[in-house]
Every structure is written in structure tokens, then in C-alpha cells.
Amino acid sequence: MAKKLRSKKAVERGTNIAIYVILALISIIWLFPFFYLVIQSLRGETGTATPYFWPKEWTFNNYIKLFTDKSIFNFPKWYLTTLIISIFVTVIQTIFVLVTSYALSRMRFKMRKPLMNLMLVLGMFPGFMSMTAVYFLLKLLGLTQDMGLVGLVLVYVASSCMGYYVSKGFFDTIPKSLDEAARIDGASRHTVFIKIILPLAKPIIIYTILTAFMAPWGEYMFASLMAFGKQDYYNVAVGLKDMLDKEVADIYFTRFCAGSVIVSIPITALFFWLQKYYVEGVTGGSVKG
């Protein structure tokens, strides 16, 4: 009895349909909370939770009030503080991480392996373990509250080199002979890094920038500790959390939702802007492919 053969196309179509259905379901589950947040931020009625999903009254007031009503919660100031911190951290951390990874990838020195392992293990400890110690150190240096901005940048940047792992892995894939060719061509190590390696490392630079920006942007623990209850020194995460305090949540919940949406804008924008480099492979053609 001949076995009935199904056409290859039909099989492919069947699998594709199944895959897309699963993907659609997953994205709905993923996107729903954000969608809910956007809807809530446009709600006219106050109160934390409503028994119905679609708002009865649509309004932009929550967004406008967030920026104009600074009497109790100074959202614009937090936003600015957070932005400044994040930009500084992004710039410094990206440089640190790339330079460290390049050195660890290319140079051979004593204790290189132990150092790499040590950094990897240290990086696995959660940051808040040293929180109190770090706080008191910064306080001694006068870098809390008033100078909290500087303190926070320091805290976020201090251990950034430990994130060398991914970028070192990337640098390892760039053939060493490129460095060697450039060095023979007359370049110093520095020039090799700037003129040869960095242009080839775009995807990893983007990755480093994104992760470096995201961490301080949503960070809560150190920021709240550093501000020590003074609203002027809050960042957005700490500030928005305050809006959900029991006493005020009823009035400010919708405004909190609006704030959350605004907070997500820079990250989304950054990602959309940079994602094309993410995908682009640039090493093709450098050596035999």
C-alpha cells in the first residue's frame, strides 16, 4: 500500500500558520500590560482600579497635569535628573566596557584569566548587598542628596567593566590579523581600536549603549536610598512609586500611568533608532568568508 505523501508546500504552510498563531498569542500577552497602561493614562475618572476596561471619559489631562502641576510631585524635575544621570552613565559606561573588553580580548598579560573570572563572579552578586556600605562611603565624600546626581553616576558606572563579557565575545570574533595588519601599517594600539575595531563593532556598541542607558533609567533602589526621602533628589522610578502611596493613589493613579508611558518613550525611541545596526553584520569580507 503506497503511503500517502503530502506536498512539501502544504506541510510548510501548516507549520507556518501554527508558528504565527503562537507568536501572536505571545505578543498579545506581552503587550497587554502596556496597552492597559496607555488606556488608563487616558482615563478621565479618578480612582485606582475601575470595574470596567474602557474608560467612560477620554482625556489628555493626565499628561498635561504631570508637567504643569508641580505642587506635590515635581515630575519634570525627576525626568530631567534621570535623563542627565542616564546620559552620563551611558557615555562613561560604554567607553569603560568597550575598552576593558578590547584589552581582555587582545592583550595577554599575567593574571588575565583570574581577573576575568573574578570580575565575572563579582558581577553575579546583586548590587544591593553593598548598598549600605556604598551609601556611607558616598556620604563621607558628601555625594548624597544635594550631590546625589554625581553619587548615582559614580555608583552606576563603578562596576560597569564587569559587563565585559558579551562585548569581549564579540571582539574575539574580529580576526586578530586585522589588528596586526594595522599595527604593521603604522597604527598604535589606540589607533587600531579607534579606526579599525570600533567601526567594526557597531552592533556591540549599540548593545552596550542600550543596556547602559536602560539600567539607570529604571533603577530604583540606589536612587531612593541616595535621595533619602527628599523629593527634590528623586529619579522617575522613585517618584512614580511615591504616586502609588496609599494616601494619594486614588487621585494620582491615572497620572502615574501617564508618567510610565512617558518614561518608556526614550527607551523605545532609542531602540527603534539603533535597531538597524543591531541586525547589520559588518564583518563580512574582512577575511575569507
Binding site: 596586526e180 595588519a181 604593521i184 601599517d185 597604527a187 567594526l200 564583518t283 574582512s286 575569507k288 568568508g289
Partner: protein
């Protein structure tokens, strides 16, 4: 444009692996040198050391007239072409080629001129604005060559540049690189594992294996005079046939016996004069090498030949113009697997052979290569080390080949028949024995003179060319040995003295002149500790040792010092030794010394005896790290 000089270059990795061992070579300006060998032989490491991409563990590298051991790659004025091209992928071809020039801050129009010129030479003008990934392998390698030549470097280094290309392109690029060399007139150093590339391109080839240089010579000489079995097998296709066997000298005939086979040929000794005498006793195993083209199946040749063996044909490879016949000299052998009896014979293309046929083959013994089976070194060197003749001694007079010479008092032996070994460099062309010089040829800087004495061909190494015709010679008697029944009766005098010791660092209070005043200050001084004595070490020698061994190990590692009997003097401050005897070689007298366990000789005037102290000539010492056997000075 410059020559290179590599002196005792070593590469030792931290784990103790020696990648390159005692590499010595002088490369002249405009030479095309090829480093060839199987992978892992140290050829690329050597090239990378020349480029400055690897540190030199010990030794001295000179480019032009500058020692460049510690010079950055960019300041060595070299260019390198990599196996994987190593083009900068984000730059266009133009930018790739111009990169090095831009870094050197050349004016823009000059850069443009050079880039377009290089592009024209290499035929890549139309690709100048393309990115490397849009190009094929051959084109990329051209760009990589272009990047190297625009810099107009003193030395071009090429690290397996053609290995990533397909066979046809490789042949084409091979010719182009050779053309480029002729055009640029600069020194090329080329690394490859492909012996055909090496043979076709190099003016001289360096064959390497396991970090050791096997032989440095021209392609022709490598083919005709391989220094050991490895070189013989590595150079030439099909591979040289290797058989095992023994050589037995019977009067003026030599019998060559092949192992694992009944094959045996007898040839006159005159064909094998250059063979090292100790291998002619019929016991020491040798490897007999014959190339496929030096074995003939042509009936006319076989008929005329005296060196014939039987071959059982197993199969053949027809290559059109010629046929490679595979067979075995052992009638039980299969002729397929490489063995000590398998033979490959080059025959004419139109000859027919059936497998299983037993044929007679003629061996061209003039072209035979012989190697020691144990060390695999050639025992048929181009410059023979010894002359081996029969002699007899009677009342202190040595008679050989119809001549007689008075032996010096140092050589005393019972009257009788002996075999005489005269090292070829112990014969000098000043003396009273008349010979007839037949030829004089320059071999790797040495002059080999062949002459006839009493109807026998003999060899001598001379400082300079010796004209043909009648000449007079003398023999340095301290270098000769006499053998009786294969046992040494009179031994040649050993020509080197070895000491063990260390490098010592001491702080010495010295008067130093500073700002016009003389002050006492502590100064670090280095000494060679040898035995129970120590000698001031010149700073440059001490520095070489320290830089080779590292500051920590320099003063703990045991060193080996070597010198010749001519470099020793008596002095109160020296190494203690005992004079056991004095030997008289006529013109020179030598003291026989006991230094610890070692017996050594030293040149003396008059007589010496009892306890003495010795000082070596410091500038003539050869110094090595004893344990690792790395020669530093």
C-alpha cells in the same frame, strides 16, 4: 631595501615549548626567501618575530643595520601580507591601500599617486571604490599585496598568502608575486607549507621541522643535496624512494645491501668517496634514497647498468607524458603502502606494464642519497667531513697512498696497518706533500677542493679558491684519527672546552666621577661565575643574558660556557685545573688538563705541570642556558 640577519633566534613559550630553535640566517638584500615546512614547524612564528608581532625569546634580529628586537612593528619598515588577507572591511579598497600612508601623514597627492600606481600594477584599478566583501578571494589578496607595496617597505613578509585560493588562481598569483619581486627589487620573505611554491619562487629556501632549521639552500641544491631524510622526502614529487640497508666496503668496492629483500648491488668505492667512513662497515643501518627519475626501466639503460635490482610491479599512475610505476623490491610486498621496499619509478608515457610483472630496474648510484637510519642525517654530505684511507705506521712514520709523513711525538702507536681518518678541514695548502688539485667549488660560503693523491680522490676545505694543478699540502696531525679493526687506536684532539657556571650580580663600591668630583658610589657589576672563579662580564654580554632569561632567572639558571683550546690562558685569578700531561704536535704543544671530571686541552708554550689556574678569553666564549640548551651568545 635591506638585508636581514637572524642570530641564534629562539621562541620559547611560557610553558617551556620551544617553537623556534637557534635560527641562524643571513638574508641578503633583494633575496626571495621561502620558509617551508609542515604545520607547526615554526615557520610562521619566525616570520611573526621578524614582523614584531611576537617577542623574540633569545637572539638578535637585525634589519638593515639596526637591531630591531625591541622595535615596534610599525617602526621596522616592513609590510606583511596575511593568509586571510586581513583587509579592513569597513573601508573601500582605496582606503585600505591608503591606510598605512595616511597614518604616516603623507601628502594627499602623493598618497593618490602611490595608490593608483599600485592598483595599476596589480590590476585592481576598477575596484578601488568597492568594499572588500564585494570582491573574490584572488582580488582581495591583490588588495592586500597592494596595501603592502605602497608603503615601499624594506622587507615584504608574506604569510601563506595563497593558501586560501583555489589551485588555478594559486598558480597565477604565484607568477604574479614572482613578477612583483622582480619589479620591486626588495627583500621578500615568504612562508608556505607547499613545497612547489617554495621551489618555484624562492632564491633560497629554509626547510623547517619541529622548530629546527633543517636546511637552508637554493631550490636546486635542496633537490640535489638534501641534508637529511626529511628534506629529501619533503622536496620533490613523487616523494623520494627510501630503502633501508647497509654499506660494506670490500677493498675498492662497496656492496649495498637492501633490507627485507634479496636486492644487492656492488659499486666502485670511487662513487661513494664522500660517504662517512663509519657507515662502511656493513653493520650500521642506512637509509638509501633514490628519486623516481633516477631509477630506470628502459631496457637499454638496464642492460648497460651494473646496479640492477628486481622490482615486482603492483600498479601505475599514468600522467600522460610519463607513467609512475609502483612496485616493490620485496617479491612479497604489495607496492601500495609506503614501506622500506616500495619503489616508485618514472617511466615513459607509452610503456605498458602489467601488475605482477617482475622487471629489472637500473639504479643511478651517482644520484643516490644516503642517510643515517638513526639520526636521519645525510651521510653523503656535499662537503665530506673526512677522508678515509688505508695506511701503515712504522717507526713513527705514517705511510699512505705512496707518501710518508713524520708523525709528531704526540701520536704514538704500535707499528702496523691502520685506517686513517683525516678531517677535510685539517688539510691546508701549505706544506711539502705534492698533490694534483682537480676542482675547487664554493658551497655555502666554504670552498671544497678535490685533489688526487696517489691515484685516490681526496677532499679538503679551504679558506679560498685553490687553482687547479700541482699544489703542496700538509695535514694537521692533532685532528687525525687512526682506526684498527673498527676500533679507535689514536684519537683526534677534542677542540672544545666546556665549563658550567652562573651569571652573578654584585654591588661594588667604586670611585665615580660626578660633576667634576670623585665620589665613592655603589655600582652594579656582573660576573661570569665559572667553577671556583669569577670573571668580570662585559655589560653587553650580561644584558643579552638577562634579557633572554628574564631578570629573575638570569642569576639562578645554570649556564654552559664553551671555548677552544686556543682561548685559554694561565692566570692567578682563574679556574683551578690540573695539568696531567703535555703533548707535542710538532709546531704546537698542548697541555692535557683535568678540570673536575672533564679532560680538556689547551695551547701552551714550553712545559706546564701541576695545579694551574685558567682564564678563558671572555670575548670568545659561547654561552648557553644549560638545561634548556638555548645558545645566547
Amino acid at each position: 631595501m635591506a638585508g636581514l640577519n637572524l642570530k641564534h633566534i629562539y621562541k620559547v613559550y611560557p610553558n617551556g615549548t620551544k617553537a623556534v630553535n637557534d635560527f641562524n640566517m643571513e638574508i641578503e638584500d633583494k633575496e626571495f626567501i621561502v620558509f617551508v615546512g609542515p604545520s607547526g614547524c615554526g615557520k610562521s612564528t619566525t616570520l611573526r618575530m621578524i614582523a614584531g608581532l611576537e617577542d623574540i625569546s633569545a637572539g638578535e634580529l637585525t634589519i638593515g643595520d639596526m637591531i630591531v628586537n625591541d622595535v615596534e612593528p610599525k617602526d621596522r619598515d616592513i609590510a606583511m601580507v596575511f593568509q586571510n588577507y586581513a583587509l579592513y572591511p569597513h573601508m573601500t579598497v582605496y582606503e585600505n591601500i591608503a591606510f598605512g600612508l595616511r597614518l604616516r601623514k603623507l601628502p594627499k597627492d602623493e598618497i593618490h599617486r602611490r595608490v593608483t600606481e599600485a592598483a595599476e600594477i596589480l590590476g585592481i584599478t576598477e575596484y578601488l571604490s568597492k568594499k572588500p566583501k564585494e570582491m573574490s578571494g584572488g582580488q582581495r589578496q591583490r588588495v592586500s599585496l597592494g596595501r603592502a607595496i605602497v608603503r615601499e617597505p624594506k622587507v615584504m613578509l608574506l604569510d601563506e598568502p595563497l593558501s586560501n585560493l583555489d589551485a588555478k588562481l594559486r598558480t597565477q598569483m604565484r607568477a604574479e608575486i614572482a613578477k612583483l619581486h622582480a619589479k620591486l627589487n626588495t627583500t621578500f620573505i615568504y612562508v608556505t607549507h607547499d613545497q612547489i611554491e617554495a621551489m618555484t619562487m624562492g632564491t633560497r629556501i629554509v626547510v623547517m621541522k619541529n622548530g629546527f632549521v633543517q636546511q637552508i639552500d637554493t631550490p636546486k641544491n635542496l633537490y640535489n643535496y638534501p641534508g637529511n631524510k626529511f628534506v629529501a622526502g619533503f622536496i620533490g614529487t613523487p616523494q623520494m624512494n627510501f630503502f633501508e640497508g647497509t654499506l660494506k666496503k670490500k677493498g675498492e668496492q662497496v656492496e649495498i645491501n637492501f633490507d627485507y629483500s634479496d636486492a644487492k648491488v656492488t659499486v666502485p668505492y670511487s662513487m661513494l668517496y664522500k660517504v662517512r667512513p663509519s657507515f662502511l662497515n656493513g653493520e650500521k643501518k642506512v637509509v638509501i634514497g633514490l628519486r623516481a627519475e633516477n631509477v630506470s626501466l628502459d631496457p637499454a639503460v638496464v642492460k648497460a647498468s651494473k646496479a640492477k635490482i628486481k622490482v615486482k610491479v603492483s600498479h601505475k599512475e599514468e600522467l600522460g607524458n610519463q607513467t609512475l610505476v609502483y612496485g616493490d623490491i620485496n617479491m612479497e610486498g604489495d607496492g601500495y603502502t609506503e614501506s622500506a621496499t616500495r619503489i616508485i619509478i618514472e617511466a615513459k608515457g607509452d610503456t605498458e606494464f602489467a601488475s605482477g610483472d617482475v622487471l629489472e630496474a637500473a639504479l643511478d648510484i651517482d644520484r643516490v642519497h644516503l642517510f643515517d637510519k638513526e639520526t636521519e642525517e645525510s651521510i653523503l654530505p656535499r662537503i665530506p667531513e673526512h677522508n678515509f684511507v688505508d695506511c701503515d705506521v712504522k717507526g713513527g712514520v705514517l705511510n699512505f697512498l705512496g707518501n710518508s709523513m713524520q708523525l709528531p711525538p704526540a701520536i704514538s702507536c704500535v707499528d702496523g696497518k691502520y685506517e686513517l681518518l683525516i678531517p677535510s678541514d685539517a688539510i691546508s695548502f701549505k706544506g711539502d706533500v705534492e698533490v694534483n688539485v682537480v676542482s675547487s667549488e664554493n658551497i655555502n660560503g666554504k670552498t671544497l677542493v678535490s685533489f688526487e693523491l696517489g691515484g685516490r680522490r681526496m677532499f679538503a676545505v679551504a679558506e679560498e679558491e685553490v687553482k687547479k694543478g700541482k699544489k703542496k699540502i700538509s695535514v694537521d696531525f692533532k685532528r687525525i684519527s687512526l682506526l684498527k679493526d673498527g676500533e679507535t687506536a689514536v684519537e683526534a684532539m677534542p677542540m672544545n672546552v666546556t665549563f658550567k657556571g652562573k651569571l652573578i650580580k654584585e654591588k661594588v663600591v667604586e670611585e665615580v666621577e660626578k660633576d667634576g668630583k670623585t665620589k665613592k658610589a655603589k655600582v652594579v657589576k656582573f660576573f661570569f661565575g665559572i667553577g671556583d672563579a669569577k670573571f668580570a662580564a662585559p655589560d653587553d654580554m650580561a644584558n643579552k643574558l638577562i634579557s633572554a632569561m628574564g631578570v629573575k632567572k638570569a642569576f639562578t639558571e645554570e649556564l654552559r660556557y664553551e671555548c677552544t683550546p686556543y682561548d685559554l690562558n694561565f692566570d692567578e685569578t682563574g679556574i683551578s685545573a690540573e695539568v696531567v700531561d703535555t703533548v707535542d704536535y710538532g709546531k704546537e704543544k698542548f697541555a692535557v688538563l683535568k678540570i673536575g671530571e672533564q679532560t680538556a686541552y689547551m695551547l701552551v708554550e714550553g712545559n706546564a705541570s701541576g695545579s694551574v689556574r685558567l682564564v678563558p678569553a671572555i670575548d670568545k666564549l659561547a654561552i648557553s642556558i644549560a638545561e634548556k640548551d638555548i645558545r645566547i651568545i
